[in-house]
């Protein structure tokens, strides 16, 4: 984690060195800073930061892709006269067990259109998800478990 903050510090230095602090200069600084850190990895020693960042980026990309995709799907359903959806409530067994994990997972599920975390069972083993397009419940379960949950746990564990 220390590298992350170091990276942010570098981006700030970059921005300051450029004379103006703006979104652009910060992002540029971050990218260059990451590069510099990666290059100097042998000096500072190995860190999970360098593995995690790509994972996080991939995760973000995945999330955004899902977001746009499912938004479009919902949009299509909304703007066209007919309703194609097949909503339902699906029980998803949870591998995540920490509070934070459950919360993040549930929120991510909610943020993607088409699915909505309704409730967590009292024993925290099951997440009840309302999905708009339930072709079969198992398919939904599977996509959540192998989609968000797996990637999320991979990222934070």
């Amino acid at each position: 984690m220390i590298y992350f903050f170091f990276n942010i510090f570098l981006s700030l230095v970059w921005a300051l060195a450029n004379g103006h602090i703006s979104l652009g200069s910060l992002v540029t600084g971050f990218v260059f800073g990451y590069g510099v850190l990666w290059l100097s990895q042998p000096l500072v020693g190995p860190s999970r930061y360098f593995q995690r960042l790509p994972v996080a980026l991939r995760f973000t990309g995945f999330f955004l892709w899902q977001l746009i995709l499912s938004n479009l799907r919902v949009a299509y359903d909304v703007v066209t006269p007919r309703l194609y959806m097949q909503p339902g409530i699906v029980a998803v067994p949870l591998d995540a067990n920490a509070d934070l994990e459950i919360t993040l997972l549930a929120n991510l599920i909610t943020l993607t259109p088409g699915t909505l975390s309704l409730d967590v069972s009292a024993d925290r083993q099951t997440l009840y998800v309302h999905a708009m397009f339930v072709d079969s419940p198992d398919e939904v379960r599977d996509s959540i478990k192998n989609g968000f949950e797996r990637r999320l746990l991979e990222l934070i564990r």
Binding site: N107, L118, D119
Partner: protein
């Protein structure tokens, strides 16, 4: 360049915001409406805020913008979850097209019948 980004972000954002509203009006039951309201609206509004950050492109605006976006993305799902959970526990009726309900409440809803759900605190109240 930044103008174009701004315009694009604005168009996307506003489109999604409108989409959310249309969804909220069009969808047949609470749960499906919520899909529209929480996600499309958050995405859309997030885009407009991002457009602001791009437009002004200074550190303070950016900070605030990121703060607001972060906050929106943090709170929207929690709020949606809370509403959905409460509605679900209150047995707010589901659309007739609902294909499956694996929740433990499903059974008791069936027992109670739809009327008891409907009658709660004047949910039929509309304008006269």
């Amino acid at each position: 360049m930044s103008d174009i980004v701004t315009i694009v972000l604005l168009i996307i954002g506003v489109a999604f915001a409108l989409l959310a509203s249309v969804a909220v009006v069009r969808m047949p039951d609470l749960y499906t409406r919520m899909h529209g309201a929480t996600k499309s609206a958050t995405l859309g509004v997030g885009c407009t805020i991002l457009a602001t950050a791009v437009q002004f492109a200074d550190i303070e605006t950016t900070t605030v913008a990121i703060l607001v976006i972060g906050f929106l993305f943090l709170t929207a799902p929690v709020a949606a979850h809370m509403i959905g959970r409460a509605a679900h526990r209150q047995r707010v009726p589901k659309w007739s097209g609902t294909v499956v309900d694996e929740s433990p409440l499903a059974q008791s809803v069936a027992d109670a019948g739809p009327d008891s759900v409907e009658s709660q605190h004047g949910s039929a109240g509309e304008t006269s």
